[in-house]
């Protein structure tokens, strides 16, 4: 995508020895007594796409929320661009301008138009000049074929359009990392595609992304690495291709089975 202005991504995407963009070490998260994430560690190099898979309740959303400071963590460290994050709200606020996040749904502000939604972060938080941000916004809107909705309110958009705007809103801040949490889960089937295509395009342009999804075909195509979570633990860590063709654990295999609801062999 035209707007990915981070000079590092494309060039460095193959250099595995580089400092990873994001590095998570021994991360622990509990709600009260309930340990939801236990000793999670992984590194995300620049320009790579990580897909988080796992059954419902395994902790995928929680993990992705921890990476944006929306949850406080009980142990371990998170390093972003080589610098450890101390975890104060103020620091996170700064970092969140470099980490874009898109949620399952409903996250556009209903009281603002599409343009106001998109401009809010860049102008108010990043204090960039409106005249500089607007052309960028217009290019991105054109990219996703939603230019005509510039002044529409979110309620006038379909679910798929809303999610594409949410992605544009995050991209306009020029993030170095994008987090996606089941962004197509509450969409009608026909709208899933337009959102996934946009994400595929971002991946091709070497945006670094961490993605939670239930769309297996998409996951297979987009994932550089798959992390398979269960019960707050990373059970498998494989390249995308390997995970889908020969998962290492039984648990992952039966998970993959369950995700393709009706296969061609008869059941009864």
């Amino acid at each position: 995508m035209a707007e990915n202005e981070n000079p590092a991504t494309a060039a460095n995407s193959n250099a595995a020895t580089e400092t990873p963009l994001l590095s998570v070490k021994h991360l622990r998260k509990a709600y009260g007594d309930h340990e939801v994430l236990k000793d999670i560690s992984f590194d995300v190099p620049r320009g790579k796409v990580f897909v988080l898979l796992g059954p419902s309740g395994s902790g995928k959303s929680t993990l992705i929320r921890c990476l944006n400071g929306l949850e406080t963590i009980q142990g371990g460290t998170i390093e972003f661009k080589g610098r450890p994050v101390s975890g104060t709200e103020k620091e996170w606020r700064k970092l969140r301008t470099e980490i874009g996040m898109v949620f399952q749904s409903y996250d556009l502000f209903p009281n603002l138009t599409v343009a106001q939604n998109i401009l809010l972060g860049p102008t108010k938080v990043q204090k960039r000049d409106k005249s500089e941000v607007e052309p960028q916004m217009d290019r991105l809107l054109a990219d996703v074929q939603l230019s005509e909705y510039r002044n529409a309110y979110p309620r006038e958009l379909s679910g798929g359009q809303k999610q594409r705007i949410a992605i544009v809103r995050a991209l306009t801040m020029n993030p170095e990392l994008m987090l996606f949490d089941e962004v197509t889960a509450s969409l009608d089937p026909e709208m899933v595609r337009e959102v996934l295509e946009l994400m595929l395009r971002l991946a091709k342009e070497h945006m670094t992304m961490i993605v939670v999804t239930h769309e297996m075909e998409f996951a297979r195509r987009v994932a550089d690495t798959v992390l398979f979570l269960e019960n707050g633990v990373i059970l498998e860590r494989q390249s995308g291709e390997d995970f889908f063709t020969h998962p290492a654990t039984d648990r992952a295999r039966s998970f993959l089975d369950s995700m393709s609801p009706i296969t061609d062999d008869e059941e009864a």
Binding site: N68, G69, L70, R93, K94, L95, R96, T97, G100, M101, F103, S105, Y106, D107, L108, F109, P110, N111, L112, L120, G121, K124, V125, Q126, Y153, R155, E156, A166, R169, A170, M173
Partner: protein, 219 residues
């Protein structure tokens, strides 16, 4: 029923009508402002402040305005604090109103989905920016229906001012009945006077509610 009796009483009722309107307007405005303050203070991180506000709200919401007025008007002078009848009326109804309005605001702001606040955070908005661009506009809109109901409630409660000799509508009607014993005529004027204030008010507020909601959430 005598038209003449009604006509003769109209100048007095007109005065009372204007007074009722004036006191209602002051009470609603003060209650709204004070209610917002109380609602915000109840969310305060300083426990004493939020507890005082909670107590204030609970005390006033759960006692009748009439006894609050008696206490302000007849009780307080015993300890050396003398407020005029109108002051007591305004004070009583705007404090009571504030307690109700605070509830309306808290309900409205509490109804904002968590995801809205999280996506504001995800954009890196500071708490103040979040309040300015996300929480206030959405919360106020959500508070409007309860605020409208409270406003109507407050206008109706001005009828209780009669007990501390404020010459508003109810007081005037009772006074005339006591002097001239034309019960039917004065009651009729009284009911019509309230209808003239409250029917348009209720219609306008319902329209406003709908408009504001549609303007923000489109439903």
């Amino acid at each position: 029923m005598s038209w003449e009796v009604i006509q003769q009483s109209l100048p007095l009722f007109e005065k009372a009508f204007i007074l009722t309107l004036r006191l209602s307007a002051i009470a609603v405005i003060l209650a709204t402002l004070l209610g917002l303050v109380v609602a915000i203070a109840r969310d305060s991180r300083i426990p004493v402040v939020s507890q005082i506000c909670a107590t204030f709200e609970e005390l006033l919401r759960n006692t009748p305005l009439l006894i609050q007025l008696f206490f302000l008007y007849y009780g307080l002078p015993s300890i050396g604090l003398k407020l005029s009848a109108e002051t007591c009326a305004i004070l009583g109804s705007s404090l009571l109103g504030a307690a109700y309005m605070s509830g309306a605001f808290r309900g409205g702001f509490g109804g904002i989905p968590k995801i809205q606040i999280e996506s504001a955070k995800a954009l890196g908005l500071s708490p103040l920016q979040m309040i300015r661009h996300v929480i206030l506009p959405q919360g106020l809109v959500r508070s409007v229906p309860a605020m409208a109901a409270n406003a109507i409630f407050l206008v109706k409660e001005t009828s209780v001012f009669t007990v501390i000799a404020v010459p508003e509508l109810t007081n005037t009607a009772r006074d005339l009945i006591g002097m001239y014993y034309r019960t039917d005529e004065y009651l009729l004027v009284l009911v019509i006077a309230y209808a003239i204030i409250l029917i348009p008010m209720s219609i306008i507020l319902t329209l406003l509610e709908r408009r504001v909601r549609r303007g923000t959430f489109g439903d």
